[in-house]
């Protein structure tokens, strides 16, 4: 059941976008998100959508996979849409359709919902084309300057990668515990909401205890392999910016410029 669970939804293939430096992708995602929030009209969002479509085309990831990411926040999107529709502050000159629904309210709600959808789709392009490991490396490298103010960047990155590494292990263990409890008559699928939440306790406690035991053993294994924090530590994998990254950056700069221009002229 939980066997296939992997963090994120990395889509393994080779493409221009896959080969980009994870730092480039992270920074460009930030630029993309900023531009979505800077855009205050549909033209700006259309430009962002165009950018997204081109990025997906270059990533060799099926568009369907990108679209699927919206599914998980569908509820949030609908909720936002309805709230904005119902509580739109009516101004003079707005055309009322019926009750308190206005054309302008409809447009504004659609705008905000599209913004959310674009945001999630953009982020999923990053997670679909970047392995969690290289994502962690990218974050570590980007946060590096913070280590000068004694921020534990290396430790944070290590925690993240260990957490990622243990997801399949813990998922497997959860699966095993559920089966063990079911074999003893445990019931997780019937009863009301509270009853089901309560039924999770016999799963969570063994899982938690197991995680502590694992942490203890992992600590020993790390000690045995000479771990001593970031002190004079080298790194085997080095991230490198290439020509590709420059191209992608220019391309994104065009998007940001486009959105700003559209904001000024419309």
């Amino acid at each position: 059941m939980l066997q296939d669970l992997t963090f994120g939804q990395y889509y393994p293939t080779t493409s221009l976008v896959h080969k980009l430096d994870p730092r480039t992708k992270l920074l460009l995602l930030i630029a993309y998100i900023t531009s979505i929030f800077v855009a205050d009209n549909f033209y700006g969002l259309a430009a962002a959508l165009l950018f997204l479509l081109i990025a997906v085309a270059f990533s060799a990831v099926p568009f369907w996979s990108v679209l699927k990411s919206v599914k998980s926040i569908l509820f949030l999107v609908l909720f936002t849409f309805l709230l904005n529709l119902l509580f739109y502050a009516k101004k003079e000159g707005d055309t009322t359709l019926f009750w308190r629904i206005t054309v302008e309210g409809l447009l504004s709600a659609t705008f905000l919902a599209s913004r959310l959808i674009l945001l999630v789709m953009g982020s999923s392009v990053l997670t679909l084309t970047t392995t969690p490991v290289s994502l962690t490396d990218g974050i570590e490298s980007l946060l590096k300057p913070l280590s000068y103010v004694k921020f534990p960047v290396h430790e944070l990155a290590l925690i993240m990668s260990i957490a990622l590494r243990f997801i399949p292990t813990l998922a497997e263990e959860t699966d095993r515990i559920i089966r063990a409890q079911k074999a003893r008559g445990g019931d997780f699928d019937t009863g009301n909401f509270f009853k089901r939440i309560k039924a999770l306790i016999p799963i969570l406690i063994p899982l938690l205890v197991g995680a502590f035991r694992r942490a203890d053993e992992l600590g020993n294994a790390m000690d045995a392999r000479c771990y001593s924090g970031s002190r004079n530590r080298t790194k085997y994998k080095k991230l490198k910016f290439t020509f590709r990254d420059l191209l992608a950056t220019l391309f994104t700069a065009a998007l940001v410029a486009g959105v700003v221009l559209l904001k000024i002229f419309f």
Partner: protein, 284 residues
């Protein structure tokens, strides 16, 4: 040269709720020559894993002294322990709890990265470690998708990347299927024979112990007997006192002897038993 020496070493776990409240290791003295293959045998709670952790300083002795190539595990130099750990690789019991990274090559790089090896050199060490453990085609694989035996071989490769002189297997085969056990033992054997690495194998399996150069028998934290497999396994009463069973071949030999057949008692392997029986048959 002595790779490991224990001088009257004792250690007790400091936990009030520990069911076993006595000393986990109690006044043990021993000396292991470099290049030997040694098996540590004992029932559960006999202190064999504690003994292993005392070697590379994961635990420090309450009294007595542990030395690795002449370096004591308790010393004032904060880097002293790292010098020891660089020379003592350790592979633990649970294949799932000793990898730090998700990908094989990243995990093997962890040790060399810790001690500040240059990048090119790390690459070379990964190549060599993967080659020796026969895991080359899994270099870019997800560790979580490997079998238990393969995970343990990755763990060995991770230890090898630090280029140690001693490898400790702390019940490393106990959670594996027979195939995985065989794979791991083959790697350990060739490390000992080809590279002259000192191997300390802590195990429950008597047939693994029978392959070692020498066996240390532990009971309740005390060293009960030391000797070659032949010597140890012919002392049936001591082995049984430790709560252990003889290897199948030795067991059969002992029973045949009891039944009045004149067979050599110092038999530890299937092959040895077969040979001895053939000899007996030819004699008749």
């Amino acid at each position: 040269m002595q790779a490991i020496t224990f001088e009257n070493v004792s250690y007790a776990y400091k936990r009030a709720d520990e069911e076993f409240s006595g000393k986990a290791v109690d006044g043990v003295s021993l000396g292991i020559e470099a290049g030997r293959s040694v098996a540590l045998l004992g029932a559960n709670g006999s202190g064999k894993s504690t003994l292993a952790k005392l070697i590379n300083g994961l635990l420090l002795p309450d009294s007595g002294e542990v030395k690795v190539f002449g370096m004591p595990t308790v010393c004032d130099d904060p880097n002293g322990l790292f010098d020891i750990r660089k020379r003592v690789g350790m592979v633990f019991q649970n294949p799932d709890n000793q990898q730090i990274a998700s990908i094989v090559e990243d995990d093997i790089a962890f040790g060399p990265e810790n001690v500040g090896i240059e990048r090119e050199d790390i690459g070379r060490r990964i190549d060599a470690a993967l080659k020796f453990t026969d895991m080359e085609r899994f270099r870019y694989s997800q560790i979580s998708r490997l079998s238990g035996g393969q995970k343990q071989r990755v763990a060995i490769a991770g230890a090898l990347a630090l280029e140690p002189d001693i490898l400790i297997l702390d019940e490393s085969t106990s959670m594996l299927d027979p195939k995985g056990r065989k794979e791991v033992m083959e790697v350990a054997r060739s490390l000992n024979k080809e590279k002259g690495m000192t191997i300390i194998n802590i195990t429950h399996y008597m047939d693994e112990a029978a392959e070692a150069d020498e066996i240390y028998l532990l009971k309740a934290g005390k060293l009960l007997k030391k000797g070659t497999p032949d010597e140890v396994f012919s002392d049936v009463s001591t082995v049984e006192e430790c709560g252990l069973e003889l290897p199948r071949a030795s067991m059969l030999a002992a029973k045949l002897k009891a039944a009045g057949i004149n067979i050599d008692q110092k038999i530890t392997t299937k092959e040895g038993l077969a040979e001895e029986l053939c000899k007996l048959l030819l004699k008749d």
